[in-house]
């Protein structure tokens, strides 16, 4: 997984403001609005499997986790509990099946794990409070939104997916302004 130092610093600087605004969420040492640092790592790894980096950026570079984190303090606040339960389901299932932390699994094993989760084959005992397939589908959908949706919501950084799909933006033929301020600098409130 690629990590980018500049991005890291960006999240750090952002965290101050968001912690003040939403004290109940992320915990004091978190660089995120809602997620703890560890939760974010899991979401980043998960989303990177959903949309892996190749010749074009993947979920990590496009800042998909930032999109999800941001929505969880906005319209997706209603999904907070599902995220908390689902993430702990992922952690416990991974410990039980592979005896390892999810983020420490190699890429292929992570993918196997997720395929099992997608078809509801992870040990049921860790998924009593939330259905594993429901959570898988939610994360899948939110990752796609963060990668393919408008950058104004904190994902699709610099229109990574539009560029990949060779869609001009904005839609004035002959002009491309793929660099978006929203994703990298100050987030637009919606």
């Amino acid at each position: 997984m690629r990590t980018n130092r500049r991005e890291f610093l960006y999240h750090l600087s952002l965290s101050c403001g968001s912690i003040l605004l939403i004290p109940a969420c992320a915990g004091n040492d978190s660089e995120w609005r809602f997620f703890s640092n560890e939760e974010a790592r899991i979401i980043i790894a998960f989303a990177e499997q959903i949309i892996p980096s190749d010749n074009d950026p993947g979920a990590t570079e496009a800042n998909v986790v930032n999109f999800i984190d941001k929505q969880l303090t906005g319209p997706y606040a209603r999904h907070r509990n599902e995220y908390r339960l689902g993430i702990s389901g992922i952690v416990s299932s991974s410990e039980a099946v592979y005896n390892k932390y999810f983020c420490d699994l190699d890429r292929d094993t992570q993918r196997d794990f997720m395929e099992q989760m997608e078809s509801g084959k992870l040990p049921e005992e860790f998924w009593k409070e939330i259905n594993q397939r429901t959570f898988f589908n939610m994360l899948l959908d939110h990752s796609m939104q963060g990668f393919y949706g408008s950058p104004r919501h904190g994902g699709n950084k610099n229109y990574a997916s539009y560029k990949m799909m060779k869609l001009d933006y904005p839609h004035v033929i002959g002009q491309n302004r793929y660099v978006s301020k929203c994703a990298t600098e100050k987030l637009r409130d919606t």
Binding site: I50, I51, P52, Y148, S150
Partner: protein, 550 residues
């Protein structure tokens, strides 16, 4: 402060209501036009796919909001769920000045003659309330023409050999085909079919002081950044206001129609923009809140003579909720067909609207609007990977190779697909909310399968190397094409209004929106709703003696 008595109150500044307000204001009546939403502009959400009126994962771009307007749905197992306005099952259209006409795809269809005579054409369908309209296509023809010219449609008369007879050419020439339309046109002609350009409520040339469309890829679900898409918000409503006779009151939620002891409507109760309960008295009340909200408002308007709601003494209000089952097929070419000539849908085939052996009705097929990137991430052949490298690769390599042929199948109405009110769940203002129950008629799936097979054949003929069907027709009806809940008819026992949209037994209460539809045609409905707005208004004006109705 008390509101001044006016001649007419119109509830809902959408397709039907916008037209009615304009017609009455031009005829010299004083009008108050109520709209629960506000004015919307492109800049509110620009081309943000996640908050549009098509993809609503982060909310409805053009209303209503998720907080104040819940609805309830009854599931097939009898359990109920409370719905947010941006959930698919909510069956939303919009809530703003212009309603769906701000963000629609702007296909401006006339129905066909047979669409008004479904029962005499096809006979009785078991378990359905399929019937003829009390009016014919020919009654409505002049009003279609008026809608085409006053609101603005681009198209070509005669291009569709199946179109119903029309007296006048469209006011603007049709839009040129995009690349996929050209391919499909050639293929269709080889198959003996009759392709033609979709009539569009968009400017192909500048019209009415507004510019021509510059063919963005994003259009449906969004407002137009250059004001080239024609809705009621940029045509009839501003004209109504300009007469000085029409006051538009935005952000006002109408709660109830007041019916007096003599069975006449005397006005409405509403909550103003500061959420204060108020009364507006009027000589005439016209309801145009779209099929679900119109039914809810009638049902919530209880009086001594109408204890179950206005016009509901025979239990027909809220019944026959219809929409359109969307159905068709997708294909992939082995070269790029995407040419960035938006918004994608330009070609139609009306060969399958009627005359399909063994099928009741049918529908139009179109080459569909360009999906935006997130929407496209869900368009995959059956069995394709939903995520990972393969999914991403498909997204990157197939987006510009996608070719589509999709359309609305004319639903077979049924009595149990309906809107009631839920007395347990109230909206922000304490008004009981709409409760949706029932499902589409079983028949719709049969019809949709038929349509999807035809669509797939044509895509193959156009050279698609891989094709798959997307078959609609299951589940609850309603949605953006919602209609039918206050059906017009000659027999008061089996309808809510007479042929002029006048509610049976309440002479000064009218309906002027999609609720009136007896059947919903195999076409997107808005031009028919606009035409009905003119038709109903014309009757009111002719029967208005200058100070009093009738």
């Amino acid at each position: 402060m008390k509101n001044k008595h006016v001649n007419a109150v119109v509830i809902g500044a959408g397709a039907g209501g916008g037209v009615a307000a304009k017609e009455l204001a031009f005829a010299g009546l004083s009008v108050v036009l109520f709209e629960r939403g506000g004015w919307a502009t492109y800049n509110d959400h620009d081309d943000d796919e996640l908050i549009s009126q098509r993809i609503t994962v982060l909310g409805n771009a053009f209303g209503p909001d998720d907080i104040r307007h819940p609805r309830v749905a009854v599931n097939s197992d009898g359990s109920t769920q409370v719905l947010r306005a941006s959930q698919g099952e909510y069956s939303n259209n919009a809530a703003c000045v212009g309603s769906g006409t701000v963000s629609y795809g702007a296909m401006g269809w006339r129905f066909m003659e047979k669409d008004f005579k479904m029962k005499s054409t096809y006979g009785h369908v078991e378990g359905s309330t399929l019937d003829d309209w009390p009016i014919t296509y020919h009654d409505l023809e002049p009003y279609y023409e008026k809608a085409e010219w006053e609101i603005g449609v681009s198209g070509k008369s005669g291009a569709n050999p199946f179109e119903a007879p029309r007296k006048k050419e469209y006011p603007m020439p049709p839009f040129a085909y995009n690349k996929s339309a050209n391919l499909l046109a050639d293929a269709a002609i080889k198959l003996g079919l009759h392709p033609f350009p979709i009539p569009m409520l968009r400017n192909s040339v500048s019209y009415d002081g507004r510019p021509a469309c510059y063919r963005m890829r994003s259009c449906v679900g969004f407002a137009c950044p250059v004001n080239a898409k024609n809705g009621t918000h940029n045509t009839v409503i501003p004209r109504a206001i300009a007469t000085g006779n029409c006051e538009l009151r935005t952000n006002c939620q109408v709660a109830e129609i007041i019916i007096d002891e003599k069975g006449r409507a005397t006005g409405v109760k509403y909550f103003d923009e500061n959420n204060r309960g108020r009364i507006q008295k009027a000589d005439i009340v016209i309801v145009a809140g779209a099929a679900i909200e119109t039914a809810r408002l009638l049902l919530n308007s209880k009086s001594n003579l109408f204890p179950d709601g206005a016009g509901n003494n025979n239990d027909w209000v809220g019944r026959n909720l219809q929409g359109h089952a969307y159905t068709g097929a997708f294909g992939l070419m082995n070269y790029d067909v995407y040419d960035d000539v938006g918004p994608g849908a330009t070609l139609a085939l009306s060969d399958f609207n009627h005359y399909n052996p063994g099928i009741v009705g049918g529908g139009v097929l179109c080459n569909e609007f360009t999906p935006m990137p997130y929407h496209f991430s869900k368009i995959r052949p059956p069995g394709a990977k939903r995520w990972g490298a393969e999914h991403k690769d498909f997204q990157r390599n197939q987006f510009k190779k996608l070719i589509q042929l999709i359309g609305p199948f004319q639903e077979i109405p049924n009595f149990e697909s309906r809107v009631t009110v839920d007395t347990g769940i109230k909206d922000y203002w304490g008004i009981p909310v709409a409760r949706l129950s029932g499902t589409r008629h079983n028949y719709d799936l049969t019809g949709c399968k038929f349509m999807s097979e035809r669509a797939e054949e044509i895509l193959k003929a156009a050279g698609a190397v891989y094709t798959w069907q997307s078959v609609g027709g299951r589940g609850r009806s309603g949605g953006q094409h919602q209609s039918g809940t206050a059906r017009m008819g000659n027999d008061p026992k089996t309808s809510v209004t007479n042929r002029y949209g006048q509610v049976h037994d309440i002479d000064n209460l009218f309906i002027a929106d999609g609720s009136l539809h007896v059947t919903n045609g195999g076409f997107n409905p808005v031009l028919t709703i606009m035409a009905l707005g003119y038709w109903v208004s014309d009757y009111i004006i002719k029967n208005w003696n200058g100070s009093k109705f009738r």
